[in-house]
């Protein structure tokens, strides 16, 4: 096999792409993000949501802090931009007034990548859900778009079973400065 200039260009291009895909997380995504209820798609069965996002190299941990009446619930989804992550307790910001439940014992697979010059974390999840007719797979494509200046985060969640995405707007929670 000849190593022609064209092939070298291809190899370099692929390497650049691979580097982009495996790049470490954009640090601006790290922090506490409070849902802006007025601008966002209506939550259903939850009354408040906060995301607490942390990173380690290519791994991103997305902790959901949910509130419903007096109930507080926390759940963390982990993604990695270098590999698919399997989880048996994937959390979906589900519409809780729909009979769509996580399948008992089901395993969810999620892949992730940084796109748009590392401004957006895109994830693709295949999660088994239980419905009245049995178990099916729901595909969820999510984008975590970091706003200019890193003060806002827009999460767009599109289900394979839903024509319009759910859009959640968050504002970064500034660290409290003690006086």
């Amino acid at each position: 096999m000849k190593n022609t200039p064209f092939k070298r260009m291809i190899m370099v291009g692929l390497a650049v792409l691979a580097l982009g895909a495996t790049a470490s997380a954009n640090p601006e995504i790290v922090g506490d993000w409070q849902l802006d209820m007025d601008r966002s798609s209506a939550l259903d069965g939850w009354q408040d949501m906060r995301l607490v996002i942390s990173t380690q190299d290519t791994r991103v941990d997305i902790r959901h802090e949910m509130r419903w009446r007096a109930t507080r619930y926390r759940a963390t989804n982990t993604v990695d931009t270098t590999k698919s992550v399997a989880s048996d307790n994937f959390f979906r910001v589900e519409q809780r007034h729909m009979a769509v439940y996580p399948t008992k014992g089901g395993v969810t697979h999620t892949t992730a990548e940084w796109i748009d010059n590392n401004r957006t974390l895109r994830t693709e999840t295949h999660t088994p859900v239980e419905i009245s007719q049995g178990d099916v797979i729901m595909r969820i494509t999510s984008e975590y778009r970091i706003g200019e200046g890193g003060k806002t985060l827009t999460v767009i969640e599109l289900h394979s079973s839903r024509s319009r995405p759910l859009v959640y707007f968050f504002r970064k929670v500034e660290e409290e400065v003690s006086s």
Binding site: S41, A42, D44, G45, W68, R69, T71, Q95, R96, H97, M98, A99, V100, Y101, K104, V129, E130, I131, S132, Q133, G134, V136, M138, H159, S161, R162, S163, R164
Partner: protein, 546 residues
């Protein structure tokens, strides 16, 4: 027949006729008062509490005093029902404009007054108990001159008696003093709104019947109060009624209903359900018979097509919510009837039936002869209770039973499923129904035995959810449940309006047909595309029970 026998026969006929006409209470004079919406302790509550207590005493002898609430009151039917009494029972109402006027008319029904302490909310419930037992009206201190003006004597004064005491201490004292004299087949949980606002509109009924009033907590974090409720329940008769509603902020609906269900008792609420002392003394008008708008014969066999079948049901009792709002009749709708109103409020049930459109279909519930959680009903009580339910369903011409068990749920989300044992009991005790529906929020208990399906709600319409969100949610369910036919049962929360749902149904995907719930169940029996499922013991329970 000789003369003496003829006289006896005529006398008997007269007695029967007079008796039945008195029961029907047709053609009589009565008085009506219009309440405003001010239930603040610092505002309109004291006078309303006094008038409601007077109403309970006045209506002991005969239905004489009726109260109309404003249209935005939770029970929206007081005005339509007032019109119904005039129209169908020939009741000639005279308006009572002031409390003064009410006492000038009805003072003879009260032997005295009891003073409650506005700084101690629970003292009002103690005062209500005393009112029932000693024929008293309840007053706060500023109203004493009014009742004195009409010659009423002080029977008791609770001011200061309970200052600084806990609710458990207050009700222990009330129990020691009064419980022995109260009836044992019913109790009044006068809870609901607490603090600056209280709405004890159901107190007339408890006073009329000499019930024990309380707002004790069924929450295990209040062990002293919980043990007092258990002590009351242990002394009550089998199959008793628990009227009123749980106290907001102290315990939850789930806890309160779980507890009373465990004793095989029946809940009838809410705390602000007005006029039962009046309504309970009317019967159905002569010749009236309940005829439901059946979409399908009980024994019919029909086949589902390759499409999506949707059925809408409103529970929460039809006296509140959608019924009086515009749009009813535009879609087939199932309405869960508070079946015990056949005993306590027959005219209200007749009013609903009279004003039903062809698209309105009545179903039995909730879970039995009252609001109860069947997973907790003692096995030995179940057949007796369901026997009562079947009798009322037969009277009301109902072929579908609605079940709800929120004992493990968290409000309208979470675990609302039935155990297999519970499902078995329903199938055993209701051989003649078309089928069962289950849930409040969504649930996943499903079954099909012979021709009787049990289908749970796949969707709950939160009235606050934007309608495009509701449309997308329903379309998502239709997309995920890809087999056809798909049976999509929808629970419509009380304060939704039908017009908005009409718009939602215009934007649903696929071949969709909206059908009445009886037809829905018949179709669901013809092609079981849903799984069989019961409550999974491993699934989380928000409240673990007692």
């Amino acid at each position: 027949m000789n003369l003496s026998k003829q006289i006896i026969a005529l006398t008997a006929i007269c007695v029967i006729t007079l008796g039945s006409s008195a029961f029907a209470a047709k053609g009589r004079d009565a008085w009506v008062m219009n309440f405003d919406g001010d239930w603040n302790v610092a505002g309109g509550l004291p006078e309303k509490a006094m008038l409601v207590s007077l109403q309970g005493l006045t209506n002991r002898d005969a239905p004489q005093f009726y109260i109309v609430h404003p249209p935005d009151f939770q029970w929206e039917i007081t005005e339509p029902l007032y019109d119904f009494y005039k129209r169908k029972h020939d009741v000639k109402f005279t308006e009572v404009k002031t409390a003064d006027e009410a006492f000038s008319l009805f003072k003879k029904h009260a032997k005295g007054y009891v003073v409650w302490d506005k700084t101690v909310g629970a003292s009002l419930n103690v005062a209500f108990t005393i009112a029932g037992l000693q024929d008293a009206v309840v007053v706060s201190e500023e109203l004493i001159p009014l009742v004195k003006k009409y010659g009423l004597k002080q029977i008791d004064d609770l001011r200061g008696r309970y200052t600084g005491k806990t609710d458990a201490e207050i009700y222990q004292d009330s129990y020691d003093r009064y419980w022995d004299q109260c009836i044992r087949d019913a109790v009044m949980v006068m809870g609901g709104h607490r603090g600056r606002t209280m709405q004890p509109a159901m107190a007339d009924w408890g006073i009329q019947r000499k019930m024990y009033f309380h707002d004790l907590s069924a929450n295990p974090i209040h062990p002293e109060e919980l043990s007092q409720i258990k002590r009351l329940y242990e002394q009550m008769e089998p199959g008793s009624f628990v009227f009123g509603w749980h106290p907001y902020g102290k315990d939850t609906e789930e806890q309160s209903t779980t507890l009373l269900s465990a004793y095989g008792f029946k809940m009838e609420g809410l705390h602000n359900l007005p006029n039962l002392s009046f309504n309970s003394q009317f019967f159905f008008t002569e010749g009236f018979k309940f005829t439901n708008n059946h979409g399908v014969d009980r024994h019919a066999k029909i086949e589902a097509e390759e499409k999506v079948y949707i059925s809408f049901v409103q529970s929460d009792s039809i006296g509140i919510g959608v019924w009086t709002k515009p749009g009813r009749g535009k879609l087939p709708f199932g309405w869960q009837v508070t079946m015990n109103w056949s005993k306590f409020s027959p005219a209200a049930l007749e009013y609903f039936h009279e004003s039903a459109t062809p698209n309105d279909y009545f179903i039995g519930g909730l879970s039995g002869p009252g609001y109860m959680y069947p997973n907790h009903i003692p096995a030995e009580r179940f057949p007796l209770l369901m026997g009562e339910a079947k009798e009322m369903m037969s009277l009301l011409d109902e072929h579908v039973m609605e079940i709800m068990d929120n004992s493990a749920a968290d409000g309208n989300v979470g675990n609302t499923d039935l155990t297999k044992e519970t499902v078995d009991r329903y199938y055993e005790n209701f051989p003649d129904v078309i089928g069962f529906i289950n849930g409040y929020g969504p649930a996943r208990t499903r079954d099909l035995r012979d021709t009787r399906p049990m289908i749970s709600y796949d969707y709950y319409i939160d009235p606050k959810r934007p309608r495009d969100g509701v449309t997308d949610d329903l379309n998502e369910l239709i997309s995920l449940n890809a087999k056809r036919p798909y049976f999509l049962l929808v629970h419509v929360r009380e304060s939704n309006d039908v017009n908005s749902l009409v718009e939602v149904t215009k934007n649903l995907n696929g071949p969709v047909e909206i059908v009445p719930v009886d037809k829905f169940l018949k179709l669901a029996a013809s092609n079981k595309t849903y799984t069989t499922r019961y409550q999974d013991p491993d699934e989380p329970k928000h409240f673990e029970g007692y």
